[in-house]
């Protein structure tokens, strides 16, 4: 008999055996939850309503006759449905959320309490202004802080989010150019910019052209100067930029742009890195939006609401939108609207949203700002930058940091997938991080870096939290570099494995339909 060639394969059991599928599909605290359309009924309700007074209807013959198809649930079922859903989400409250460019910092709960005070939450935007003096004063106080912190001349408070703020800034610029009889057609945007920048410029009728970047990830000043000319209306720059770097030449850029008769728009998404240490107004910027949901920590809410006030230079302020809050010599406050704009703000480009903007975000942001004060906000920027550099230097031996050698980063650290073996990319690192209990960093942005990983830890993370995250990212990066095939299947421990996004786009199912569900069940 020859030597045993097959060996012996042991049973893969542990002391307690392996777990099979459960009856419910649940795995202990990981609970599956059906759609409301599968568990509710149109006759169930969790709300009791008084009976209406008896009267003939005055609906003009248009009373609804067809069913709507809206399922209802009782209150206990509703609370359970959404509580179960909530547990399938990652959130800042659960751990470090290093989504670059999004500034996922802790959301202080005092802000929530204040926003819910009836004096702010339960007032109508069209109440007589005498009855809402405190609300207008909130807008006015926040305006003052934003102007002081940025060193700008004025502020437009009504934009609803960052992209809406960009729109506001460009409309001011366009108005200013038209007022001097010099309409221009081109807006220059760096390739590394957020997608909203070119989209906004196009949305208000401009042609968009790229500005080249230098090898070290900054705007190429010479190339920009060569391109400037009488057709350029504005240059949109993000500073600190999306590579996590401060644009050293910002003042020279502004001077060149102004000399060419154009304006400088700054995307203020990354203001958190410099708040309290640098005032954009000192860099020659004409307009900049501030994402209150980033720098000033109003909650991101699973995709908004945001708020995007725009600070403006003296040259652009006359064109800002209505309404805006004004304080008068006798101490009273007023929203300047259509009625008096003709006298008080005659050159306004008009209104860009119904009502006055995101009041619920203003109360939260003002609360946040008052809590921090000038000293605390400066510390915010310093700690945000310190945390990002700590991550950058702790990982640059294992992950390629394309701009690492050129100096410190600002509040976010940028890595690439350079050096990964064939078949492994940033996506695998991201999905591996999910299994480690983290929300991944921003992937594949900015576009100028191959397989970009943009890590923004924010200032509200402790050193211990950073150390654990660094350890986790190092471990996943090492697995990717070693070509660990298991990583391609990650995540294993999330409520869902990798989802088929191609299928979703090829055969879009955007709403629940009973007939399709029945078909699928067959």
């Amino acid at each position: 008999m020859s030597i045993n060639q097959s060996g012996w394969k042991p049973e893969m059991t542990t002391e307690h055996g392996t777990a099979g599928a459960t009856f419910t599909g649940n795995r202990a605290l990981m609970l599956e939850e059906p759609l409301i359309f599968e568990i509710g009924s149109t006759e169930t309700t969790g709300v009791e309503c008084a009976a209406p007074p008896k009267a003939a209807d005055r609906l003009g013959g248009l009373a609804r006759s067809r069913p709507i198809g809206l399922p209802g649930l009782s209150e206990p079922e509703t609370v359970r449905h959404y509580t179960r859903l909530s547990r399938q989400n990652y959130a800042i409250d659960l751990g470090l959320f290093p989504l670059g460019s999004c500034t996922m910092k802790h959301n202080p709960r005092l802000n929530e309490k204040v926003a819910r005070m009836p004096g702010f939450a339960d007032i109508h935007p069209l109440q007589p202004q005498e009855t809402v003096q405190g609300a207008i004063e909130v807008i006015n106080q926040l305006s003052w802080w934003l102007i002081e912190l940025t060193g700008m001349y004025g502020v437009a408070m009504s934009p609803k989010a960052g992209a809406h703020g960009e729109l506001c800034g460009l409309l001011c610029i366009r108005s200013a150019l038209e007022a001097r009889g010099d309409p221009r057609s081109v807006v220059l945007v760096p390739e590394s910019a957020h997608g909203t920048n070119p989209a906004t410029a196009a949305f208000c009728g401009y042609k968009v052209e790229d500005i080249p970047a230098t090898a070290e990830g900054r705007v190429d000043l010479d190339a920009l100067k060569r391109r400037l000319g009488p057709d350029v209306a504005a240059v949109m720059i993000t500073n600190p930029n999306t590579c996590g770097l401060f644009e050293r030449d910002m003042k020279a850029i502004s001077d060149a742009v102004h000399a060419a008769g154009a304006f400088v728009y700054c995307d203020g998404a990354n203001f958190n890195a410099i708040v309290g240490r640098v005032r954009p107004g000192d860099l020659g910027i004409d307009a900049m939006h501030i994402n209150l949901h980033k720098t000033f920590s109003t909650p991101h809410g699973g995709g908004g609401p945001g708020s995007g006030p725009v600070v403006l230079s003296e040259a652009l302020s006359p064109y800002g939108p209505i309404p805006y809050s004004a304080r008068y010599a006798d101490g009273h406050f007023r929203m300047v609207e259509e009625e008096t704009a003709g006298e008080e703000h005659p050159d306004t480009f008009g209104r860009m949203t119904a009502f006055h903007g995101q009041m619920g975000m203003f109360t939260r942001a003002l609360t946040y700002i008052l809590s921090h004060g000038a000293d605390g906000l400066r510390q915010v920027a310093e700690d945000a930058v310190l945390n990002a550099n700590y991550v950058l230097r702790a990982l640059e031996d294992v992950l390629d940091a394309p701009f690492g050698p050129s100096g410190p980063c600002m509040h976010e650290a940028l890595f690439s997938d350079e050096g990964f073996p064939e078949g492994f990319s940033t996506l695998d690192v991201a999905k591996g991080l999910i299994d480690e209990g983290y929300h991944p960093m921003t992937m594949y942005f900015p576009l100028v870096v191959h397989g970009a990983m943009l890590v923004e830890p924010t200032e509200t993370e402790s050193k211990a939290a950073l150390d654990q995250f660094i350890g986790a990212l190092r471990s996943v990066a090492e697995r990717a570099k070693a070509g660990d095939a298991a990583l391609k299947g990650a995540p294993y421990f999330a409520p869902r494995r990798r989802l088929d996004e191609t299928l979703a786009a090829r055969k879009p199912v955007l709403v629940w339909r009973e007939d399709e569900a029945a078909e699928a069940a067959e």
Binding site: I36, G40, S41, G46, C49, A50, P52, K54, R58, L62, R64, R66, L70, G72, Y82, Q88, A91, I92, L99, L110, V114, G119, D122, T131, K160, A163, L167, T196, A199, G205, M250, K251, G276, P299, H300, G301, G302, G303, G304, P305, G306, F349, G350, R351, F355, H356, G357, M359, S371, G373, R378, Q379, V380, L386, G407, R497, L499, E501, A504, V511
Partner: protein, 452 residues
């Protein structure tokens, strides 16, 4: 500072690991001239939670809240009772402190909620599909006009005179810059909507007709004929709904042929909040889905074949298409969409219909009582929970005088249309389930006194 976990020792240790001496070494790329040496002069320093709460509470106390007064304001923002569980659920950290679901494996809670929201909005409006929300009704309305331009490749939009004047203003602002042509008119205090004008204006150049339902004066007009005429001329009908509770009692715009239905969702689940944040609703018929703005959530399966949800059709969006995107919108109104969806789930069809019937019944009752006050005349034949009164005096000072008596009487048309021309005596009054019989008594008595 209570929100910053790093200790001075941590900071020194971390600077050491990085290999620099001080924090200033990390700001070397900022030109010295632009750096501030210390905290900005003249600004207050940090403050305790107690001190900040006191400061903010003092500001809050200066406002007369809707809950403290007989309250009748509407015109695009409505006071409804929001069940306590709505606010409880939206404060769960997993919803409140998450972001746009870019990583679907750990965002199924938000994604499934959005899928449910999209379905609720589509069904309510009578459309095939809906998106994951816009900023508010007014911006959703302009986005719909832009979408109609893309679909029809025409640039003239006809706006009904019953469209909320702020929505008209937003469209006017944008059209100034985009070159879109707007056919506009101002409302008069008559019972009929401007359907006749719209029917006459639709031509082969028209991209869309925009009609609010019920309109700014509360009037309800049939959309079917306008839809038919628009379609005959190759144009789209955009219906705008600022009070979604109305759709519990009224035929949906989709049923009457609307191609796109946009709306303000604030009434359901979102409080008044002095105008924002609110939640824009955006629904349309299936064939236009690839021209929609904003995020869309879609169903799919994971690697094990389990149902799951993802953001989809993103090739319409700015982060992929950049200047060729259908819109520049990024962050939308996720948490308000959640509040809307929870409230709608609590209501269900039965609850929504009951709520709508109650609103309408109370409004009919109130309209009759108010019309009996000397100097007050009801303009509307038809209305849902909001109607227009013609007063014997200019409404604006009347509203102010009533506010002095602690009554928030409604919206004077002079506030919305400062140019007068017969509208200045108009008062738009909204009556919801929150308005009591005694509130209406107080309004009747107040008007009687002020108009005498």
């Amino acid at each position: 500072m209570r929100y910053l976990p790093l200790t001075p020792d941590d900071r020194s240790a971390m600077l050491g690991s990085i290999g620099v001496k001080s924090i200033d070494d990390l700001f070397v790329d900022v030109p010295a001239a632009a750096q501030l040496a210390g905290p900005i002069a003249g600004l207050p320093m940090h403050a305790s939670e107690l001190a900040v709460e006191r400061h903010m509470a003092a500001l809050a106390r200066k406002n007369l809240t809707a809950g403290e007064a007989p309250f009748f304001l509407g015109c695009g923002a409505y006071k409804h009772h929001v069940p306590a569980s709505v606010d409880h659920i939206i404060q769960r950290g997993e919803f409140l402190t998450a972001y746009t679901p870019y990583q679907p494996e750990i965002a199924q809670g938000t994604l499934q909620m959005l899928f449910e929201f999209q379905t609720q909005v589509a069904r309510l409006t009578g459309c095939d599909v809906a998106n994951a929300s816009m900023y508010d009704g007014s911006t959703a309305c302009w986005e719909a006009i832009v979408m109609a331009r893309r679909i029809t490749k025409r640039g003239k939009a006809i706006l009904s005179d019953g469209l909320h004047p702020h929505y008209v203003s937003v469209a006017r602002t944008m059209a100034k810059f985009t070159g879109d042509v707007l056919d506009l008119s101002l409302p008069t205090l008559v019972p009929e909507t401007d359907a006749e004008r719209l029917l006459g204006a639709i031509d082969g150049e028209t991209s869309c007709v925009v009609v609010q339902y019920p309109d700014i004066l509360g009037r309800i007009g049939d959309l079917s004929e306008i839809a038919a005429r628009a379609h005959e001329k190759g144009a789209l009908l955009i219906a705008v709904v600022t009070e979604p509770v109305a759709l519990g009692a009224l035929k949906s715009p989709g049923e009457m042929g609307a191609d796109i239905v946009v709306g303000e969702g604030q009434s359901i689940g979102v409080g008044l909040q002095f105008g924002g944040p609110y939640v824009g609703l955006f629904a349309c018929q299936e064939k236009f889905v690839r021209q929609m703005p904003g995020r869309l959530c879609g169903e799919t399966v994971d690697a094990e074949g389990k149902r799951g949800f993802v953001l989809t059709l993103s090739t319409r969006e700015q982060h992929i298409r950049r200047e060729k995107a259908t819109s520049n919108i990024c962050t939308n109104s996720g948490l308000c969409a959640l509040a809307f969806s929870i409230h709608m789930t609590l209501l269900g069809e039965r609850g929504l219909r009951d709520l709508a019937a109650l609103n309408h019944g109370l409004a009919v009752d109130a309209a009759e009582r108010l019309a009996a006050v000397p100097g007050v005349e009801l303009v509307n034949d038809s209305f849902f929970n909001e109607f227009t009164l013609r007063l014997s005096k200019e409404a604006r000072p009347v509203v102010r005088d009533l506010a002095d008596k602690g009554i928030l009487a409604g919206v004077s048309l002079g506030r919305l249309y400062p140019d007068g021309e017969g509208r200045e005596n108009g008062l738009v009054v909204a009556v919801t389930e929150t308005s009591t019989h005694e509130d209406v008594d107080a309004l009747c008595a107040g008007l009687k006194e002020v108009l005498a």
